[in-house]
């Protein structure tokens, strides 16, 4: 003998999105380093910039980000980033 119980989980309706194509060669391209404002992200990005420029001298790196760690990035900043970047490295989830 069994008992019927209802499922408390929320239904997640996933709307598939497409990523833009992968940029394999960064020479001459723009990489945006997008900060979420967490501690030491600036320092991490300083080091990444140094490494990127040593391997890809003609790559341009741009820093963008949000000021408040707990709030979403402003839509305008996200759009600027999308318009400008060939690759976005967003950090850091910790």
């Amino acid at each position: 003998m069994t008992l019927e119980v209802l499922n408390p989980l929320g239904e997640v309706k996933v709307k598939k999105q497409a990523l833009v194509g992968r940029e394999k060669n960064l020479q001459g391209k723009t990489v945006v380093l997008f900060s979420n404002g967490k501690a030491n992200v600036g320092l991490l990005f300083d080091n990444l910039e140094r490494l990127l420029s040593s391997q890809f001298p003609s790559t341009r790196t741009v820093r963008k980000g949000k000021k408040n760690v707990a709030l979403p990035a402003p839509a305008a900043v996200l759009q600027e980033t999308a318009n400008e970047a060939d690759l976005v490295i967003c950090g850091i989830g910790d």
Binding site: T2, N7, G10, E11, K13, V14, K16, G37, L51, G93
Partner: protein, 411 residues
């Protein structure tokens, strides 16, 4: 880029947002708190991962739109111990036994309000699960709510979904913020939601189960399971339940909902992302200024979020303290002004590293006063004063997360 401890959250978010193939650069945790040479090593690691990603083949986009949530109902054993193990092992509980959400019980819960079961209140992050009246009812049954409490739970969930509450941040932060539900108006008395002695503690079914229902909704519908997508470092006991009513009968001032423009005879729920309440013990002062000095002294410490991120906070004044303050002619606005002016932390109580963190993006002048103190509250409007509690000379204050409180009328 994500540290290994947060990889699961990042993957879940990518899937829920429809981009499961989003490349993740995973590096060892932590990054914050490290000295420069160790951050440099993390950057080396990240760069190798980025280089690997650039060389690898593009992953397939794969998949179409889909819906996940599992079966609508389950057939389980009639053995009580097996039933509880079923729910616990599924990760659907808060660790305590639950009331089984049978179709009959859920029907009774929904029958207490004039809403359709498939009405969608909103999407709850971080899994972006659909919060319907039905799903809230299922979790309210599990929490042990009476059907008469359901309208309060629904109003609380609707309030949490307002943008200024910042539910996404609250659900995924390492901070211990958890919704505190404050009920005002006639329904608080009708439902016997405790506003008096031990109001933050145990013993009242309404307080215990309304707060618990809210937490189960956030966990089960929103996917914020501790250790997986709920990344709270410590949490606090309010994550089991956190619900009080305001002691309007013993308050010398207008209640919270009237401050916020609601009719005194309306019933409302206010939610705020709250840390555990902190006691303010003052058995000695016999003047308003004395008690307010103690209140401000309690607020003026480091370690809470209000010191560096703007959000509103709550001061819950006990009835005896409130009577003493009001007897000296202080209005609620006078109380707020006193707290705004006097709740300040000397800069030398803040470590240099933490001060640098607090100042991120700000100048010294934006943040530190000429007397080298930092205000606990950034604007006077961020201070909320309510009266609750029983006999005794204690008050409480409630530090909060980066979130603003929301008040909704209970339909």
């Amino acid at each position: 880029m994500v540290t290994d401890q947060f990889r699961e959250l990042a993957s879940a978010e990518a899937k829920a947002l429809g981009i499961p193939e989003l490349p993740l650069v995973v590096i060892p945790h932590p990054v914050g708190g490290l000295k420069e040479p160790d951050v440099s090593k993390r950057a080396d690691w990240a760069f190798k991962e980025i280089a690997r990603y650039l060389k690898s083949e593009e992953g397939s986009a794969g998949g179409d739109d889909s819906a996940k949530g599992g079966p609508i109902q389950f057939s389980i054993s009639k053995d009580a111990d097996i039933q509880q193990s079923f729910f616990y092992n599924k990760g659907w509980t808060d660790g305590l036994p639950v009331v089984l959400p049978t179709p009959d019980r859920v029907r009774q819960m929904i029958g207490s309000v004039d809403r359709e079961p498939d009405e969608v209140l909103g999407l709850i992050p971080p899994a972006w699960g659909e919060s319907t009246v039905l799903k809230v009812a299922i979790n309210a049954v599990m929490a042990g709510c009476l059907p008469s409490y359901f309208s309060v739970v629904l109003a609380a969930v609707e309030a949490l979904l307002e943008e200024k509450f910042n539910l996404y941040g609250v659900q995924t932060t390492t901070h211990p913020g958890s919704p505190l539900v404050i009920v005002n108006g006639p329904l608080a008395r009708e439902l016997d939601i405790n506003c008096k002695g031990n109001c933050f503690g145990q013993g009242w079914r309404a307080n215990a189960t309304i707060g618990r229902a809210v937490r189960l909704v956030l966990q089960n519908v929103g996917g914020a399971v501790p250790g997986k997508l709920d990344k709270a470092t410590m949490g606090h006991p309010g994550k089991y339940t956190y619900c009080i009513a305001e002691n309007e009968a013993l308050s010398p001032w207008a209640p919270l909902h009237v401050d916020r423009g609601f009719d005194p005879f309306a019933s409302t729920v206010t939610v705020v992302a709250a840390e555990a309440p902190q006691n303010i013990n003052d058995h000695g002062s016999i003047s308003a200024e004395g008690i307010l000095t103690t209140i401000c002294g309690t607020l003026a410490h480091t370690g809470h979020n209000n010191l560096y991120w703007a959000s509103d906070l709550f001061v819950v004044i006990g009835p005896e303290h409130a009577a003493t303050i009001a007897a000296d002619g202080y209005s609620k606005q006078d109380v707020k002004e006193y707290i705004y002016d006097h709740a300040r932390v000397p800069v030398n109580k803040i470590s240099p590293g933490q001060l640098e963190n607090y100042l991120s993006g700000l100048t010294d002048a934006d943040y530190i006063g000429p007397d080298r103190t930092v205000r606990v509250v950034k604007t006077i409007d961020d201070i909320n004063v309510i009266v609750a509690g029983g006999p005794g000379k204690h008050s409480m204050w409630v530090p909060t997360f980066i979130s603003y409180s929301v008040t909704k009328q209970i339909k």
